[in-house]
Homo-oligomer: 424 residues x 2
């Protein structure tokens, strides 16, 4: 089939939008007909930009009968939801980088797209430049994937890498990351794990082949990780990473969550440093495969948007456009509560320097069916207290919570400094 000249409308001309315009200039078969921006007068860093195609009314794009594809790179639910809904109703194909919208409104939008025989592609929404959606939907489509372990947020991975390498506090690194533009002024979305949760919601939905509800994803950020935790983890052979996790349990429930984890230095995810993202999938028959690369940034994100645009462009006019890329989920995941999950744990406490305090921790854990895998006691300070760190064997989250409660009540335990899950 001869490729046709494909007409696109772009909503958003921030970092990603600018990248998209820059990379599309080399593709003569793609024409950007219209770009919606917030501020028509803002100076743009784009050579030979034809300003007559800018509009501050995005509905001019989604209602434009001339367009084949609407590319949305503004993020957030409002007004992106209304815009894309209108675009789909008007028969447009969608390319979006909007992880929050997909996590919150994906089900509805995909159903609508199926009805209208259009496609929504979103390679850029998850793990930036890394090809992950397309491989899951195509090459791996026959696999039963039962586990995803991923680093999906560059900002938090940058902060944790820096803390680990320089031995400095979370607060210090955050300030520096904000100064460098790696973290936002209000870093909540990143550091509290919202961004990762949006991404794992969609990633788990397509990889595990059942609809994951963003509201049922357990989420915990990195703000409580201390320089001491980093140091203890290192001594025990681990790094600390913000992990987005999704797995099928033995009871065929779906365990999806985002929280910091101790990751063995032998695990490939431990080697993912700085703003890099990575996704590890485990399934049958493929086994364990890993993808890594830039999780954000103007050009890596534009690469994924470009790939989606070209895939649609190549298929426009076909009687069934990109059949493998359509949403095919009919089952709603039965999501586990965090208290039901099984994990190994890192527990860091400050204890009084009393003989038998380690035995006492072991005993309390034992009463809650928790075995200890390793124990680390660090030097006694002037107050005659000691830092004690234990790694447990796998146990139920509700049991560890009961044990922690009892530890808190024990007079030898002066403080519970942290409780972090450990990746197996």
């Amino acid at each position: 089939m001869e490729e046709q000249k494909v007409k696109i409308g772009l909503i958003g001309l921030g970092t990603v939008g600018t990248g998209v315009v820059k990379v599309l200039k080399d593709f003569a078969n793609i024409e950007i007909v219209k770009i919606a921006v917030k501020n028509l007068n803002k100076k743009r860093d784009i050579e030979n930009l034809d300003e007559s195609i800018l509009t501050n009314n995005p509905f001019e794009i989604v209602n434009n009968p001339e367009l084949d594809i609407v590319v949305e790179v503004i993020g957030g639910v409002d007004p992106a939801y209304d815009l894309l809904k209108t675009a789909i109703l008007n028969g447009k194909h969608i390319v979006t980088a909007n992880k929050e919208l997909l996590a919150k409104k994906g089900q509805e939008l995909f159903a609508l797209a199926n009805e209208k025989n259009t496609v929504i592609l979103y390679e850029a929404a998850i793990a930036g430049g890394i090809p992950i959606i397309m491989p899951i939907k195509t090459t791996l489509t026959g696999n039963k994937i039962h586990k995803i372990e991923a680093i999906l947020n560059g900002t938090t991975n940058y902060i944790l890498t820096k803390m680990e390498r320089e031995g400095v506090s979370y607060e210090e690194v955050l300030k520096e990351a904000q100064a460098l533009g790696y973290a936002e002024t209000d870093p909540t979305g990143d550091v509290e794990g919202y961004d990762s949760a949006y991404k794992i919601a969609t990633l788990a939905t397509i990889a595990l082949n059942q609809r994951v509800d963003i509201n049922k994803i357990y989420r915990e950020g990195i703000t409580k990780i201390s320089a001491k935790d980093m140091k203890f983890a290192k001594e025990l052979g681990y790094k600390i990473k913000l992990i987005a996790l999704a797995k099928l349990t033995e009871e065929n429930k779906t365990d999806v969550r985002v929280h910091p984890m101790l990751v063995s230095v032998k695990d490939c995810l431990a080697a993912i440093n700085g703003v890099t993202n990575s996704v590890v999938l485990e399934g049958f028959p493929v086994g364990r495969v890993m993808f890594a690369g830039p999780g954000a940034g103007m050009f890596p994100t534009a690469s994924s948007v470009l790939g989606d645009i070209l895939a649609i462009a190549k298929s426009i006019g076909s009687n069934d456009i990109l059949p493998l890329m359509k949403c095919s989920h009919t089952i709603n995941a039965q999501q586990t509560d965090i208290n039901e999950t099984i994990n190994k744990y890192y527990i860091a406490v400050t204890a009084s320097n009393t003989p038998g305090v380690i035995g006492c921790i072991g005993e309390i854990c034992g009463r809650h069916n928790i075995s200890l895998a390793s124990v680390l006691q660090k030097g006694i300070d002037e107050k005659n207290t000691a830092d004690i760190v234990v790694i447990t064997e796998a146990c139920k989250e509700s049991n560890i919570k009961s044990a922690i409660k009892e530890l808190k009540e024990n007079s030898n335990i002066l403080n519970i400094n942290n409780l972090i899950r450990v990746m197996e």
Copy 2:
């Protein structure tokens, strides 16, 4: 479009073929109509195998008008070439795991397939279970990829990992790998780099978007790597890996080769151990992305075959089947000669324990425009000789060869033990 029942013929029922039959039993829309085997009487490890579908005449498959897809997993050029050519002429789609055939006859077969409007998919031929062909052809299709660094052979990576970890010789590990079935009785295809060369020929062709000639790929195996090289590399912060490399040079030539390289422990490829494969791509706009996973084995390879079969199955009946997956190369690569390439080098020599011998090495290198980046001298032995290892800065291969020639002639240099390229 409603999915049709798709009929396939399978040529080959060895490890990969058996895996394909096992995984396909879960897909009711795919019917294996016929399987060609060498030996009809061999006992097969497949439950409920209908032996009436076996044949020892593979032409019964490629000439069978009922079939939609021919899956070829016998390997080698003869008779696979004749079989697939006939199948394509008969309008069949092809799924193959045959890297040698693609490297040697790919151009002709792809041209024929384009003519007959059929597709040849080959995800399993390169890096086993890792999705790499589909991502390059789809998500990354708009990228200009300028470099590939890859570990594409599990046997050699297993041997090198074992040598590095246990400090043992190549010969010793090879024997063990043969006993475990990780290496073949005649290991030439793996250890001399032929297998990696076949794979990088096709991978470079699609990623760099120009036809790479297998006959012009420089190839060097791992048989000369010694336990001492491993040890010296480690002390200098490197591992030794068999690397398949492809890059565009500044003169817009194509530099494709397979040989051992020292890889910095900080590079993600250094963390690829055992039989795992990995492909790192560098391009614009994506930046640097990495893929890793099982490079061989019954089920990982079957996963890729399965993905290709399902992609075709989903598209059969479409007026333009998998347009992005078709061959679109029209340019023949201008391949560099190894002597023109620019590399850093590891040189290991045995020298007499004479004052100034390191200076003498530096002087000889200097005369050939080669600067030294680091030097390591190891203990003097009873013969009053010393092991000296140098790492050079980047220089031309022809220059290093002249320098080595001169070093050989120098009376202080008793032996040139090895010359290994170093990854930058």
